[in-house]
C-alpha cells in the first residue's frame, strides 16, 4: 500500500516536471500561468497540444507495455518473456513500412496500419501454435519466433525498396513519442484502459497460472480460455502501444521484473505496482530523450541501451539459480 501511495505521488510530480521541461523556454512558471488562465497562445500550444498528449501517451504506453510484459511472464512462467514475444512488433513494423512504402503515410494511417498488422500477426501466431489439446506455451513461443523472423525479413525488404522514404521507416521502428497528438491519445485510451482493468481484475488467476497450467486447472480455472483472453488483452495493449510509438524495447521486461524484486510474485500487488511504475518510468525516459541533446533521440534507443544490460543481468542471475 505504501508503495502504491508513493508511486501515485511520484507520478503526479513527474507529470508536472515533464510538463515544465523541454527544448523550448516554456517552464514551470508558464504552467502556473496557464492554470491561472494568463498564458499566451504559443505557451498554450506547447503545453496543451504538444507536451501534454506526449506525456499522457508515454504514460499509457509505459503502463501498457509493462502490464503486457507482466502477464506474458506469468503465462510463460519465464521472467524473460516480453510483450513482443508473439511477433507483434514485427507485425507492426510491416504495417507501418507498407503505408510508408505506398506513399500514403499520414500519422493516422501509419498508426492504424501498424495496429491492424500487429493484431493479425498475433492472431496468426496463436493459430499456428494451436494443437489438438489446446495451445501449449512452447509451440506458441516457437511460432512467435518464426513469424517475427519472417516479418523482419519483409520489413527489411520494404526498407530496401522504399528508397528515400527509408529513413522514415527506420525512424518509426526505433520508437518514440515525438509524433504524439491528442488523436493518438484518444485512439489508444480505450483499448489500454480496458485491457489494464482486465489484467488487474485477473491478478488472482495469474497467480494460479504461475503455479503451472495443471495446478491452475486443479483450482477450477479453465486454463485454455484464460490463456486465450490474457493473450488477447496483452496483444491489445502491445498493439496499441506500438501503433502510436513504434517499437520501444525492454520496458516490458525491466518494469515487471524490478517490481517483482520489490513486492514479490503475488500479482494482487505486482500488477498495481507494475502499472504505476510503468506510468512513472516512461515519461522520464522520454524526458531524457527530448532534452539530452539539441534534437531528439528515439526513446527506443535509450530503453535498449538501459535495458540490454539489465536483460543480461537477469540472464546471469537465472543461470546462478
Amino acid at each position: 500500500m505504501k508503495l502504491i501511495a508513493l508511486l501515485t505521488i511520484l507520478i503526479a510530480i513527474i507529470f508536472v516536471v515533464c510538463l515544465s521541461l523541454g527544448p523550448s523556454s516554456v517552464g514551470f512558471e508558464d504552467v502556473i500561468m496557464l492554470l491561472n488562465g494568463k498564458a499566451d497562445n504559443n505557451v498554450k500550444y506547447i503545453i496543451i497540444d504538444y507536451r501534454m498528449p506526449r506525456i499522457i501517451t508515454s504514460m499509457l504506453v509505459g503502463v501498457a507495455l509493462a502490464t503486457a510484459g507482466c502477464s506474458m511472464q506469468a503465462l510463460f512462467r519465464n521472467p524473460l518473456a516480453d510483450p513482443y514475444i508473439l511477433g507483434i512488433s514485427s507485425g507492426a513494423s510491416v504495417g507501418a513500412a507498407i503505408v510508408i512504402f505506398l506513399g500514403i503515410a499520414t500519422t493516422f494511417n501509419i498508426m492504424l496500419s501498424a495496429f491492424i498488422f500487429s493484431l493479425i500477426t498475433a492472431f496468426v501466431v496463436y493459430k499456428l501454435g494451436e494443437t489438438k489439446i489446446g495451445v501449449p506455451i512452447y509451440t506458441l513461443l516457437l511460432a512467435g519466433v518464426a513469424m517475427a523472423s519472417f516479418l523482419s525479413g519483409l520489413t527489411s525488404l520494404l526498407i530496401y525498396l522504399s528508397g528515400k522514404e527509408m529513413h522514415q521507416i527506420v525512424f518509426w521502428i526505433m520508437g518514440g513519442f515525438w509524433a504524439a497528438r491528442w488523436e493518438k491519445v484518444w485512439f489508444i485510451t480505450f483499448p489500454i484502459t480496458f485491457s489494464i482493468a482486465y489484467v488487474f481484475l485477473n491478478a488472482w488467476n495469474l497467480n494460479a497460472i504461475l503455479m503451472g497450467e495443471e495446478h491452475a486447472l486443479s483450482v477450477g480455472i479453465d486454463v485454455e480460455s484464460f490463456k486465450r483472453r490474457i493473450i488477447g488483452v496483452a496483444t491489445l495493449l502491445t498493439s496499441s502501444s506500438v501503433a502510436v510509438s513504434g517499437i520501444i524495447g525492454f520496458v516490458g521486461i525491466i518494469i515487471p521484473h524490478a517490481m517483482r524484486l520489490i513486492v514479490g510474485e503475488n500479482h494482487k500487488k505486482l500488477i498495481p505496482a507494475t502499472i504505476l511504475f510503468g506510468a512513472a518510468f516512461m515519461p522520464i525516459v522520454d524526458l531524457i530523450s527530448r532534452t539530452i541533446t539539441d534534437g531528439e533521440i528515439p526513446v527506443g534507443i535509450i530503453t535498449a541501451l538501459l535495458g540490454a544490460p539489465f536483460f543480461i543481468y537477469l540472464l546471469r542471475r537465472a543461470k546462478v539459480q
Binding site: M211, G212, H215, V219, R260, E265
Partner: protein, 409 residues
Amino acid sequence: MILEVKNVRVKLGSIEALKDITFKIEKNEIVALLGPNGSGKSTILRTIFGIIKPYVGAVYLDFKNIEKFDFRQIAKRIGYLPQENPETNLRVIDIVMLGRTPHLNGFKQPSKKDLEIALNALKSVGMNGFKNRKFSELSGGERQKVMIARVFAQQPEILLLDEPTAHLDISSQIEVMELVSKKVNEGLAAIIAIHDINLATSFCNRILMVKDGKIVRAGKPEEVISRSTIKEVFNADVDVKKFGGKIYVVPKMKTRNNKNRLIHVICGGGSGTEIIYKLSEKGYRISAGVLNVLDSDWQAVMDVEGILIDEAPFSPISNEAYEKNIKWIEKSDAVILTNLSVGIGNILNLKAALKAAEEKKMFVINKTPFKERNFVGKEADELYRLILEKSRVFKNEEEVLDELEKIFG
C-alpha cells in the same frame, strides 16, 4: 458422495492410454492406483477431473456425468494435486489461498473466512509457521505439505493425488500419507496414484493395480499383492511378507550361490509351500508335481518360476502326468516328499515317490503320523512304509535344508 468410473477408454494422440477402466469409490475410502511409471495412473486421475475426455465411457460424480460440470464446479468437490510441484516464488499463504479459487466470485476478493480456512488448512499439515515464506525456499517435504494444504483449503469431497510421496524422504512420505488418512477418516475419499507398494498396502483400503492402461487386479491389499502379481505388473522380483496384519514387500535378494541343482518336490494341499520358497531362496531350481492347478503349492511353484507337472483342478492324476512326474524325478538331483495327505486322487504321487526312494535320492518330511494323512487305506500305508525304508527322513523343512546344504552347498 459416490464417484464412478465406468468403462472409460482414453486416447492420447493415437495411443490408447486407458482401456476399459471401471471402478467406484465412496467416502471414507482410500484407493491406490498402483503401477509402474507410464502405466496410466495419472491419465486416470486427469480423466476423473475432466481434463481428458474419454471417447468411450464416462466418469460420474453422484450419478452425473463429470463433463456436465465446469472446472470451477469440479474443483469445489474434487481436490486434484498434480504430480509436479510448481517452481514459484509465491509465498506459502498465497499458494494455499489459491485453494479457495473455486469458492470465490468473479472479482476474486477473498473474505476473512477464506483466509481462516486457508490458515486452518496450513495448520492441519503443521506448516502454519511457514505462511510468509517463499515456496521456492522450502524443502521437498515442506513443499508437498503446502500443496496438500492447498488441496485441503479447497474443502473437496474427493482427493485425487498424483504421486504425493514421490521424491520425499521416508518420514515425509509417512507424514503425507497420514495427513491424507486423517482427512479421509473425517469423511472424504481419496484416490492416490502411487508406485510405492508398501505405502499403498499400509495406507490404502483398496488397491487397483494398473498396467498398460488396464486395471489388472483390484481388491484389498492382501488380496492383490503377491509375488506373482508384482512380477506381472512391475516386472520385479520381490518377497511378500506379512507383519501384524499388514502386508509388505521387500526386494528379493539375488541368491549368492546360484546352485545348478534341481530339486523335485512331491507335495500338494499347501504341504510344500514352505520348502518350495526356502529352496528357491537358497538358489535351487525346483520342479514339482503332480499338482492340481490352483492348489496353493501350485501357486508357490508359479511364484518361484519352478517347473510344474500339473493336472486339471480337482481331477485325479492321469497316467500321462504320472509319467511326466517320473521323468522329472529322474532328472532331479534330489526329491523331497512333503508332509502331504494322500487320497485316491493323488496316490500316484506316492508311487512316484517310491521310484525316487529306489534311486536313493529321496528326502521325506514326516511331521504328522501318516495314518492321519492317509485317506486311501492299506495300499497307501504299504507304499509309505517302503518309501520310509529307502529314504532319509526328517522332522521338518529346516532339517532337510541343512542336509541338502551339506550335500550340495
